[in-house]
Each structure stands twice: as structure tokens, then as C-alpha cells.
Amino acid sequence: MQPIHLENVQKNYFLDKVQVSALKGINLKIDAGEFTVIAGPSGSGKTTILNLIGCVDTASSGKVVVGGKETGSLTEKQLTDLRLHTIGFIFQSFNLIPVLNVIDNVEFPLLLQNKQSPKERRDQVMRFIDRVGLTQYAQHRPSELSGGQRQRVAIARALVTKPQIVLADEPTANLDSVTGQNIIDLMKEINATEKTTFLFSTHDHSIMNQARRIIRLLDGRIQE
């Protein structure tokens, strides 16, 4: 059973009363533990696919199955729970909560899950902060960190719940190439050790080449 399974998925939306087809019948299966890149020019539908898989958007038609659940049949609450327990997000602009320090930001999804004792939770948080190499910055606020450091915090936050799937929408776009490479290395390393399924979008060729599988998108269709 694949963690991600898309079947003839279409996505239309309206832009000033004109219907735009962002996805025109996508069929896609991603296996557990894959490290996959979605590549394509701007407007090719990369982000739309990630949004559908990330359960923050719904398909116009077709079937989207994430973590064994068909998202079209889920309520808003169930979708939220699916995001909380199955998916980890890494954003292009990091999206840390500015008023919280590194520890609190990483702890945030664990608190929402509310499954562990405070001690267990705190240990896990520290382990992941250590994993992304930010132990000495644990008490810092996002505003006190560099872009690369922020994205590391975001990775720690995405991974701390040990999700089946990690989605990353152009995670290196706001970083210089060296830092971006470090982030990709980190993601690869985690993919190797934790067997987490990684799916991320990019239009950076140097990064694309490091992926085991590349899904090429053009005008809402897979070119593979």
C-alpha cells in the first residue's frame, strides 16, 4: 500500500471568472521511503499537487489517497487530523511561529497531538533539534536565526511527529546554494535513516539530480 496514490486527479480553479485547469488528470503512486522530486517550471502545477497531497486543498475530480485515506470523503476536522498525524510540512518561507523559540516551534505539533508526557515530548524535541544541529540555538527566536538555521528548525518541526510523509514546497528557494545543499543533504540523510517518504518540489537542477525519482510536470500533466 503506497502512502500516496493519485488517480486521474483534476484541479480547476477560477481566476477572474475564467476557469483555469491546474491539473489535467494526474495519476501518481509514490512508495514508502521514496525520495521524490516534482520538477517543472512555474505554473506547471507542482504546488497544486503538493497541496492536494498535503490535504490543504481538494481535487475537482479524481481520487487522492494519502496514508491510506481517500481525502475527498473526509471532513475538515478529519483532514486536519490527517495532516497532524501523517504529514510533515516544510515551507519555502520556513513559516516558523515568530513569538516562539526553537524548542517551542519544534514542540508545537507534538503539543497539538497531545500523545506524550511532557518529559517524553521534551526529549524528542531535543533529539530532533540536535539532529538538525541547532542544540546551541534551542532558546533562540526565529528572528535571531539565519535562513538556513530557520529551515533546519522547520525540518525538525516537520519530522518531530515522525510522519509517514514529508512534503516540502521548494525548501531551498529562499536559501543560497551552499545552505540549500546542506538542507537537501539533511533531508536525504533523514530519508535514509528514518525511512520517511519525501516529496518535494523544486526547479533547481542541481537538486533535482540528487533525487532518486523525478516527476516532471508541464501544464498540469506528468511528463515522466
Binding site: T80, D81, R83, D104, L112, N114
Partner: protein
């Protein structure tokens, strides 16, 4: 666990946006401060007004005739005129019916009214004394002679006073002025006094009618009084205590001044002003140099110095003049100038001269225009519009303990209900009997049967009085009638009353008992209706209600403003934090979480700043409760029920204010939080460079 995180984020947001927090916080704090302080203040005032009203006149409930023309207002209408509430026929039967209600402790019958009395000026006073001396069993020739000398001296003083000023006095026509001059000269002649003893009655009459009015002082005293069962009144208003004189003896007609009124309105004007100046200097820290009010009082004393010199005899004038010259270090020969100099006081010499007044002058002057033991000629206009008069003995003065300085509690003087009924023409059996007696003796054809007022009304006045009835006889009977000094308890309880105070076991049951009384009155045909003390206090009862309403409007506006500002700032926060909120939602936060985030933020704000405001308000209330707020004038004294208002902090008020804060937080959160909940997790994907 998430609550803690939410609170943390909320609190940090509050601190992050310091300016916004400060502005909203100050408004919130101000609202809470105003609520605590304002309510304590208004509660202090209304509590003071309530106790000084209920414990001095109204009781917990007032009852009066259900067919009354006006609504009962014991303090009268706004213009001071009494309200026409009709009367209820039998107090006894009403009381009996009401006392069956286990909540009712007692019922005190009443009738409140307003009187103006002219107790006469100093010459009237001396003449009255002289008249008595002539009538007394053992006539003391020496005493009478000294009194005559005293009166003659006074007449000379009056003459001196008017010398060269007859024309200036506008009240007198030229003819009257000429006549007054002749009369004064006549009194100055030896002849007038030579045959005084043999013709005393006429001479006294002449002095009283022709000379006394030339003193030209307006001596009218205006006051409100309540006719009641004095013994019951004393018992049921437990704060009641006699200050001067004695209690009206049971079954006796009599009058008691309220001591506050007596000391403020009946006292010798100069003494009263000196007292007031001293009090204001002490309580309000006013000085003669700076206070226009006090300067005016000093001026008035100087202008009315006649109040002193007309009251002093020749020997007394001599003594006081000597001491005054010594005090002032002058050798002024003219006593009037000397007196004026003395009365022109300043801050430096006020205390010394004040003490001098009470030590050296007060013993020679009449300190109170009506003295304990005097007979007060009360007159009233009856309902038919005619005037009746009752002479009633003043037994003393009273006050209500702990409301000594409350003008509200000092509003009413007390007299017996039987005399009040008579003043207002309500017949009693005894009066009907006496009426018949007088009727027979005077030989009048018909004296109205239902009302004593008819005795002197125009309809009977025009009727012939048969020649056998000499004026003296009528006078004699008149005296007998008005001085019929006693009454039986039965007479008192069986007769009519205008309204009555009802006391309850538990004052919190007022509304229920009012309902019960009104129902009972309907079923038993008692002809009464019951109202709360607030209603009975008329505009005074409404005033506290109005004050509360105005205060609440103010607080309401400031809190509404705070609420709107909170709402606005939250809405802005929701819009500015779209990505942050979207991120939280994408990571897995439920919409409920976002709602809580906003709610906690507002809750934090309102509790923190509301708490600060309430604490400051409470602190000020506690301080003011210790120090007291001084009343800065008669109006304030009236509202404060005394010279100072002491606030009490009601802990439940703090809880109430905090509860209101929470409600504001809830209300102000709804719309922005709803908007924030609608923010899609897609917002997290917004790309920002």
C-alpha cells in the same frame, strides 16, 4: 496541554504588539477603574441616602391612600410643596390587617407637611415675657419694672436705628413713616410708662402692634414636619434620640425640632454664621482671606449687627462694650460701630472673637429664636384652602444617631398626629364634641360638622355672632381648644393618617411584601397602596437610580469602546497573521485552536488590564474609605448624607467587574476569531521572498 501553549502564544502576542496592547489596555483599565470606583461611590451615596431616608422617615415601605391624587413623595415636590396624597380613614384597622403579614414588624402612622412660623422678634419676645409676668400668681414689681426699662431701652434703640432713615425704608408709606415716628416718640415719653401697670394689656398691645414691626427683621422659619405617634416613632426609628429638652410625654400634644434644623435655622443668625465659618475653616480648610463664601458671611454678620445690639439691655451693652474695647484694643464710644468692628473678623482673630462671642455675648442674647418650652404657632392651609392654626409646645430637639449631620435625615421635625389632623381639618370625635361646645357658647348657627376648618372659613365668618358672645369669651375658648394638650391613644390610632411607614423583618423582601400589601388591600378593601422607600422618597429616591444609570452609561461607553478597539485590533491581527495562522492549520491545528488563541489573547488583555484598573479603583476606594471624601458644599453634604462620604469596598463588585471583562473578551473575540478560523491552511503556502 495545548492550552498552555495557546496562552503562551497569546501572551507573547500581547507583549509583541506593545503599542496596541497599551492603548487597548489603558481603555480597559480605565473602564474597570471607573466601574469599581464609580460604583463604590454611587453605592456609598445611595447607601447613605437609603439609610438616612429609611431610618429617619420612610421605613422600608410606605403606604398611603389608593385614591391619592398625587404620588406620595415624603420630601414633597421638587419645589418643596407637599404632595396631596389624601388620607386613609382608620389607622387602627389598616395596622391590624397589615400586622397579620409575618414579614411586617411594625407600622407607624404619619402625615408630612410644611410649615412657616413667625416666632416673633426680640420685642415680641420681651412683651410676651412681660405679659406672663403680669398674669403670674405672685407679681414681682421689681422684675416687671426692670423688664419695662429693658423694653423702653429697646424702643429707643429702634428709634435710633431708624433716625433719619424713615424715608429710606421703602416698605413704609410716607403716612406710615410719619405715624411710626410719632409712635416711637410717644413710647419715648415718660407719660407712656407712668400708667403702664394700670393699663398693661393695652400698652403691651400697642407696643406689639405698632413698635415691634419696626424692627423689620424677617423672622420666618420654614420647615417640614411629620405628624406621627411620637412614642411609636421613637421606638421604631431606633436611631432617634433626644438632644435638647425632653421627649414629648405620652398622650401629650407637642413638637420636637430636628436638632440639625434647630442648630442651622432656628439659631441666632450671627451665632449660626460664626459656627458655619468655623466648621468650614476646619473641615474644608477654607480661609477668610480666600473664600468668597466666608467673606459674604462675615459681611452679613456686620450688616445684621442689630441682631446683637437690639437684644442687649443698657447694663449689658455697657459690659459688652467695655470687654469689646479691651479685646480690640480701642476706645470706641459708639457701641454699634464697636460691634461692627468686632464682627469684621479676619483669619488672625477669628478664633479669639468666636470664643469671645460665646463667652461674653451669647449669654445676653436669645441664642435660639424658638426655645425649648416655647409654644409654636403653627398654621397651615387646609385642603379647602382656608387657614387654621394650632399652638403647640416645643418639648425639645432630637436627632438620628449616626445621621447627625445628614440634611436628609434632618429634614423633618416631629409632632403628634392629632395636632396634624387638626391643622388639616381632619375631625376627631373629641374635636366634634368640642366643636359643638364652642358652637353653643359662641351661639353660632352652624359650624361645619366635618371640618374644624369651617370655623374660620369665610362662609361662617360672615355669619352673625350673637351679641351675648363677647370677644374675650371666644378668645378663652380658642385658647382652651388649641391647648387641649392631651389625647388618648385610642384617639390617635382610630383616626386618619396620610401615610405610614412599614418596617420589615428582612429588607430584602420589600418587593414581595409590597405586592402582598397591595393584594391584601384589594381583597380586604383597605383602600391603601404600598410603595418602596425609593418611590416614597420621590425625586430623592429617583436620584440614586439616575446616578447609577448615568454612571453605567459612562462605564458602558468606555467598555464598548475598549471592546471595539479589541475587535478591531484582533481583526487586524488576523489579517496580518494569515500565514502564521495558515501554517498552524497546515501543521494540524484545528479551527478551535485558532479560536482559542484569539480568545486567550483578549482574555489575557482584559484580565490583566481590567485587573490593574480594578485594583487601582479598589485601592482608591479603600483609601477613601479611611480618609473620607469631604463634602464641598450643601449639595454635596446632602448627597453624602453628612460632611464626609466613606466608601466601602464590596468584594463582589470586583468579581462583577472581572466577569464583565470576561464577557467583553468573549464578545470582542467572536467576529475576529470567526474570521481567523476561516483562514485556509493554503495561506501557509503563500510564497514570500
Amino acid at each position: 496541554m495545548t492550552h498552555w501553549m495557546v496562552l503562551k502564544i497569546a501572551a507573547r502576542n500581547v507583549f509583541l504588539h506593545r503599542m496596541r496592547t497599551l492603548v487597548v489596555g489603558v481603555i480597559l483599565a480605565f473602564g474597570a477603574f471607573l466601574a469599581v470606583l464609580g460604583h463604590s461611590f454611587v453605592n456609598g451615596i445611595s447607601g447613605g441616602m437609603e439609610s438616612s431616608t429609611t431610618q429617619s422617615i420612610t421605613g422600608d415601605i410606605q403606604i398611603y391612600s389608593e385614591s391619592a391624587k398625587d404620588k406620595l413623595s415624603v420630601f414633597g415636590n421638587m419645589d418643596g410643596s407637599p404632595t396631596d396624597v389624601g388620607h386613609v380613614d382608620s389607622f387602627e384597622s389598616v395596622e391590624k390587617a397589615l400586622m397579620k403579614n409575618p414579614e411586617i414588624v411594625s407600622v407607624v402612622p404619619m402625615g408630612t407637611s410644611f410649615a412657616q412660623v413667625n416666632p416673633g422678634n426680640i420685642l415680641d419676645h420681651f412683651l410676651e415675657k412681660l405679659r406672663k409676668s403680669y398674669k403670674s400668681a405672685n407679681v414681682d414689681k421689681n422684675d416687671i419694672d426692670s423688664q419695662k426699662r429693658r423694653i423702653r431701652f429697646l424702643a429707643q434703640e429702634i428709634q435710633k436705628n431708624l433716625e433719619g432713615k424713615f424715608e429710606e425704608i421703602g416698605i413704609l408709606s410716607a403716612a406710615d413713616a410719619a405715624q411710626a415716628k410719632i409712635n416711637l416718640e410717644k413710647v419715648d415719653q415718660e407719660e407712656f410708662w407712668n400708667d403702664f401697670d394700670s393699663n398693661a394689656e393695652n400698652k403691651i398691645e400697642f407696643l406689639a402692634n405698632k413698635i415691634a414691626p419696626l424692627i423689620f427683621d424677617d423672622n420666618m422659619i420654614f420647615f417640614s414636619y411629620v405628624g406621627t405617634d411620637p412614642q411609636l416613632f421613637k421606638e421604631k426609628f431606633p436611631q432617634f434620640e433626644i438632644v435638647k429638652g425632653e421627649m414629648i410625654p405620652p398622650g401629650t400634644r407637642g413638637f420636637l425640632f430636628h436638632d440639625f434644623f434647630y442648630e442651622n435655622m432656628v439659631k441666632h443668625r450671627i451665632a449660626r454664621r460664626l459656627d458655619q465659618i468655623k466648621k468650614k475653616m476646619k473641615d474644608d480648610k477654607l480661609t477668610l482671606a480666600n473664600s468668597k463664601e466666608l467673606q459674604d458671611q462675615i459681611k452679613a454678620n456686620v450688616e445684621q449687627s442689630a441682631e446683637i445690639y437690639l437684644q442687649l439691655g443698657p447694663a449689658e451693652t455697657e459690659t459688652v462694650a467695655q470687654k469689646l474695647n479691651k479685646l480690640l484694643g480701642t476706645e470706641e464710644k459708639d457701641f454699634r460701630t464697636l460691634l461692627k468692628n468686632y464682627l469684621s473678623m479676619s483669619d488672625e482673630n477669628f478664633q479669639e472673637r468666636y470664643d469671645f462671642f460665646y463667652k461674653e455675648i451669647a449669654p445676653y442674647v436669645i441664642l435660639h429664636r424658638v426655645q425649648i418650652g416655647d409654644v409654636l404657632p403653627l398654621s397651615a392651609f387646609t385642603k379647602a384652602g382656608t387657614s387654621t392654626a394650632v399652638n403647640i409646645k416645643v418639648y425639645g430637639t432630637f436627632r438620628f444617631k449616626s445621621f447627625e449631620n445628614s440634611p436628609l435625615a434632618g429634614n423633618f421635625s416631629v409632632m403628634d398626629l392629632v395636632s396634624l389632623r387638626e391643622l388639616y381639618g381632619f375631625m376627631t370625635d373629641e374635636r366634634r364634641e368640642q366643636n359643638k361646645e364652642i358652637e353653643a357658647e359662641m351661639g353660632l348657627d352652624d359650624v361645619g360638622r366635618d371640618s374644624i376648618e369651617n370655623l374660620f372659613s369665610s362662609s361662617t365668618a360672615t355669619k352673625d355672632i350673637k351679641p351675648k358672645a363677647k370677644p374675650q369669651t371666644i378668645d378663652l375658648k380658642f385658647q382652651k381648644r388649641v391647648m387641649g394638650a392631651t389625647y388618648t391613644q385610642e384617639e390617635l390610632t382610630k383616626g386618619v393618617f396620610l401615610h405610614a411607614a412599614v418596617f420589615l423583618k428582612d429588607t430584602s423582601n420589600v418587593d414581595r411584601v409590597i405586592k402582598e400589601i397591595n393584594e391584601l388591600s384589594k381583597s380586604d378593601k383597605l383602600g391603601i397602596k404600598a410603595v418602596s422607600w425609593q418611590d416614597a422618597a420621590g425625586f430623592i429616591g429617583q436620584m440614586t437610580f439616575m446616578m447609577k444609570a448615568i454612571l453605567n452609561i459612562f462605564i458602558g461607553i468606555s467598555l464598548l469602546l475598549a471592546g471595539l478597539m479589541i475587535m478591531n485590533s484582533l481583526l487586524m491581527a488576523a489579517m496580518n497573521r494569515k500565514q502564521e495562522i495558515g501554517t498552524m492549520r497546515a501543521i494540524g491545528a484545528h479551527a478551535q485552536f485558532i479560536y482559542r488563541l484569539f480568545f486567550y489573547e483578549t482574555l489575557f488583555l482584559s484580565l490583566l488590564f481590567g485587573g490593574i484598573g480594578a485594583a487601582l479603583g479598589a485601592l482608591l476606594v479603600v483609601i477613601l474609605g479611611k480618609v473620607g471624601i469631604p463634602a464641598s458644599g450643601d449639595v454635596a453634604t446632602f448627597f453624602f448624607s453628612g460632611p464626609k462620604l466613606y466608601l466601602h469596598l464590596n468584594p463582589s463588585l470586583i468579581f462583577l467587574v472581572m466577569a464583565v471583562m470576561v464577557i467583553i473578551a468573549i464578545l470582542a473575540t467572536q467576529y475576529p476569531a470567526w474570521k481567523a478560523m476561516k483562514i485556509s491552511p493554503l495561506q501557509a503556502m503563500q510564497k514570500r521572498e
